[in-house]
């Protein structure tokens, strides 16, 4: 099979270029990105062929665990996620080609980049627990090393440390999950696991472990805390990969375990992903909407999107457990399309943030502003990404969110009371999240790109090199096309959905026009993006023409509106913080115990008035700070054990032996 050879050569090329980049400098570093792009392209083509051709590639290598070997398998599910991953890698690599070889490339980043790419691809094709965990861990470690690349910054070090801890916890949880799946016989190949579905209680434990393992990598609340610190700390194109792509690998892990290896689902499996996902979606955006760091806002928004995807996956589980495969297909299509779409617009937004960072050297929203004049192309691409992530039609974000809401609306058909009554609440939370997302990106775009520059750096910004514009432009084009051709994309998922549920969405051409996306049947729910796009275009053009006809045509430039006071200082503008204030007042008082204090000097006093906001991150306190303190307390208490006398150590051993013997004597 030529596909296997292509796969092997591409992965080998990634490893080779990583090796070359470690040993040499200059040109070798610059070689990393073209080679990564070519490898991603090659693997992506193989994935596409497998997905559309319903093919299946398998290989067994004589390395890995003794007597198990290393199983590799590329089925339609892996192929779909492979397309997501390699699309992101391609965009990030093209962006990377525009980096300055002397100033922006270091041996700390470039050799690890292809390794990280190869590791993500390997996770997708691993077909036994050992290979999966090994590649998963490789992925974690390479991304950790990329996060810690700017190690002189204490914030980076802190982020990397937290990431390492969370990655270790996640992998440990996955280890338990696979241990449970392998069962007492120890069948570590995925094929063996498929044949032996575990007992209900074991399955619940496995599902929990999988949720912890994959959720910690994807940023499911409360395992999210590392993500908004670590993703922004990496170089921007790596942030794009981590946020746009690596979280998808985490979702792949959950799909693989919950839908493939764990056997036929029970209805209550759906509850944890749905509930946690909905909470994640809302809370993630509440964090995003008050944060003032551009890249951190994007990272929080990633958390939200992962939550949305988990809700869709949970719904698919619930429908499947109740034998409603037509609804399960819609929910699953929503999840998968959102995976694809999010990888596009989140990569685009992170690359745009990278461009802004490159141009101004700043990430704080309150130091940006007016960039639309200085970086016009980046501004347009970023706008497309912001519109797409806010799920506005006719862009791609709307397609998957529309499908997801169709699935939510079908959820009251479910017989179980818990799901029955939860579904309206879930729908409301998702709607809130969607509205908050729009508010969040209006704020980001308005503060960063509109208005007047708030800092000298923003005033002297310049657009990024052409190659980087191409990377962003390509992703923006994908966001638009993905929106217009949603029905084609959903149709391309047919082989995958067919193998998972034995059903598929209605193919393109089934509805009124070729591009109609049909969720259940043509009478009930149709979304026709091109027609909406046509309508929006015609309506906008008509308005434009009418307004221009009725008003004067000449463009005038006047002083920006500032309450009638022509104050030249840009600090009088709306800022990111002031935009967030109403939302912070509405939601922050509950979620963050936000307290605002105004320190007003008495009349006659010359000192400035101060306004300060105190936010308390309850999640951090409850799930990170408290366990951290407990661990430190416990370990300092157990530290006494390190300084016992020899005789006391012997007593401990003897006591342990006697206790174990007594237990054996009593229980057997």
């Amino acid at each position: 099979m030529p596909e296997l050879q292509v796969l092997g050569v591409a992965l080998g090329a990634l490893a080779a270029v990583a090796l070359v980049a470690t040993s040499a400098r200059g040109l070798a570093l610059a070689l990393v990105y073209p080679v990564s792009a070519l490898a991603a392209l090659a693997i992506g083509v193989v994935d596409l062929r497998v997905l559309l051709g319903d093919g299946l590639l398998t290989a067994t290598l004589p390395i890995g665990l003794p007597s198990v070997g290393l199983h590799l398998r590329l089925d339609t599910l892996s192929a779909f996620f492979g397309i997501v991953v390699n699309g992101g890698i391609l965009a990030a690599s093209i962006y990377g080609m525009g980096l300055d070889r002397v100033r922006e490339m270091t041996p700390r980043v470039e050799p690890l980049f292809p390794l990280f790419c190869a590791a993500m691809n390997l996770v997708l094709i691993a077909d036994d627990a050992y290979a999966f965990l090994f590649c998963w861990e490789l992925m974690s470690l390479t991304s950790w090393a990329l996060v810690v690349a700017r190690h002189t910054d204490p914030e980076s070090r802190r982020a990397a440390h937290l990431y390492l801890v969370m990655a270790a916890i996640g992998t440990a949880a996955l280890l338990f999950a696979f241990g449970g799946l392998a069962g007492p016989a120890g069948g570590y190949a995925f094929d063996t696991m498929r044949g032996h579905p575990p007992a209900p209680l074991v399955a619940a434990l496995i599902l929990t472990a999988a949720l912890v393992g994959c959720g910690s990598k994807g940023g499911l609340i409360p395992l999210h805390a590392w993500l908004p610190l670590a993703h922004p700390a990496a170089p921007s194109h790596v942030s794009a990969l981590m946020s746009g792509v690596m979280t998808k690998v985490a979702i792949y892990g959950f799909v693989r375990i919950a839908f493939d290896l764990l056997g036929p689902p029970t209805w209550w499996w759906a509850l944890p992903p749905i509930v946690l996902g909905a909470i994640t979606a809302v809370l993630g955006l509440l964090y995003a909407v008050i944060d003032r760091d551009l890249k951190r806002v994007l990272a929080y928004s990633t958390i939200e999107n992962v939550g949305v995807i988990f809700v869709a996956l949970g719904l698919a589980l619930a429908f499947r457990a109740n034998g409603r495969d037509d609804s399960a297909v819609v929910a699953m299509a929503a999840a998968l399309l959102h995976v694809l779409n999010h990888s596009w617009f989140k990569s685009l937004l992170f690359l745009g943030a990278g461009a802004v960072l490159h141009a101004t050297g700043r990430r704080d929203l309150d130091g940006l502003g007016g960039l639309i004049h200085r970086m016009p192309r980046t501004a347009i691409f970023f706008l497309v990404g912001a519109l797409a992530i806010s799920a506005l039609p006719p862009l791609n974000g709307f397609v998957s969110e529309w499908l997801l809401f169709q699935a939510v609306l079908a959820a009251p058909e479910l017989p179980q009371a818990a799901l029955h009554f939860a579904s309206p609440a879930i729908g409301a939370m998702l709607a809130l999240a969607a509205a908050l997302a729009a508010a969040c990106f209006v704020r980001v775009y308005g503060t960063a790109f509109l208005g007047r520059p708030r800092s000298p750096e923003a005033a002297t910004a310049h657009d990024v090199p052409l190659v980087q514009q191409i990377a962003m432009g390509g992703l923006a084009l994908l966001c638009i096309l993905g929106g217009l051709l949603g029905s084609v994309l959903a149709g391309a998922l047919a082989p995958l959905l067919q193998t998972m549920f034995g059903g598929a969405m209605a193919p393109p051409g089934f509805g009124p026009t070729y591009f109609s996306l049909i969720a259940f049947d043509p009478d009930r729910s149709i979304y026709d993006a091109p027609i909406i796009a046509l309508f929006v275009t015609i309506a906008s053009l008509t308005t434009l023409v009418v307004v221009h006809r009725l008003s004067e045509r000449r463009t005038r430039r006047g002083p920006a509106w500032d309450c009638g006071f022509p104050d030249p200082s840009p600090t009088t503008q709306y800022t990111a913080s002031s935009f967030a204030q109403p939302l912070r007042r509405v939601y922050g008082a509950v979620t963050f115990s936000a307290r605002e204090t105004v320190d007003m000097p008495p009349p006659g006093d010359q000192r400035p008035a101060r306004f300060s906001v105190v936010l308390i991150d309850h999640l951090w306190r409850a799930f990170y700070a408290a366990p951290g303190r407990a661990v430190i307390g416990l370990s300092s208490w157990l530290n006494i054990l390190q300084f016992l006398t020899i005789r006391r150590y012997l007593v401990l051993m003897f006591a342990a032996l006697v206790i174990l013997l007594s237990i054996a004597a009593v229980t057997t």
């Binding site: 300084f643 006398t645 020899i646 005789r647 007593v651 003897f654 032996l657 006697v658 054996a664 004597a665």
Partner: protein, 219 residues
């Protein structure tokens, strides 16, 4: 046939009694003598098993036990003790009465455990195993109720006596395993010996608490 078991039980029981004696003795010389008696009894038990079960390879084990543990090691330890000048009473952590009571409880535990765990095997082998397990546990107990390094060595060797007794009782334990057990015990003994002399050189005593004082620990 029954007679063979009676004799082997008698010998194993005698070993258990010497284990109690080891716990009871106050002076190092007496401890060493009790250990020698236990080892000789072990040699007799093994030899009896070899003769009654017609397993001549066990005679080698018996011979090794008699020569090494019955004669060479006790004599060597006696001379060490004489050279180091530590004839005085051994410092104990727990009183004799308490130690004996704990030993009694351990014997009971061993009996209860073996009756439950090894219910498939025949009654005679089971009791032999219970006796051996009690001897092992008592050896361990001896290691922790005394503070003297020499008596710790003796406790360790006594544990090993119990192990060999168990190995003899369990049919089918190959000679290789026995030899390797014996060898590892020999190595451990060397380590102990070097250890004892190093302590003595440094601190002028073989009381192991000196090590802790040296490390500056709370006691």
């Amino acid at each position: 046939m029954n007679q063979a078991y009676d004799v082997s039980h008698l010998l194993a029981g005698a070993m258990l009694v010497t284990s109690f004696a080891l716990l009871y003795q106050q002076r190092i010389g007496a401890v060493l003598n009790a250990f020698a008696v236990q080892s000789v009894t072990l040699a007799l038990a093994v030899a009896w098993a070899a003769w009654s079960d017609n397993r001549p390879d066990l005679f080698i084990t018996a011979f090794i036990a008699l020569v090494l543990k019955g004669i060479v090691i006790p004599v060597a330890l006696h001379r060490t003790v004489a050279r180091l000048g530590i004839h005085r009473e051994v410092e104990k952590v727990v009183g004799v009465g308490a130690a004996l009571l704990v030993g009694l409880a351990l014997t009971g535990l061993a009996q209860a455990l073996v009756v439950k765990v090894a219910s498939a095997t025949s009654g005679h082998a089971r009791e032999e195993l219970a006796l051996a397990l009690s001897i092992v546990l008592m050896g361990f107990l001896m290691m922790i109720v005394r503070r003297n390094a020499v008596t710790q060595v003796v406790g360790f060797m006594s544990m090993e006596n119990g192990l060999i007794l168990a190995a003899t009782g369990a049919r089918g334990m190959p000679l290789v395993v026995e030899v390797s057990v014996a060898f590892s015990v020999l190595i451990a003994l060397f380590v102990f010996a070097v250890f004892v002399f190093r302590i003595r050189e440094r601190f002028d005593t073989v009381d192991i608490e000196a090590l802790d004082r040296m490390r500056g620990d709370r006691r």
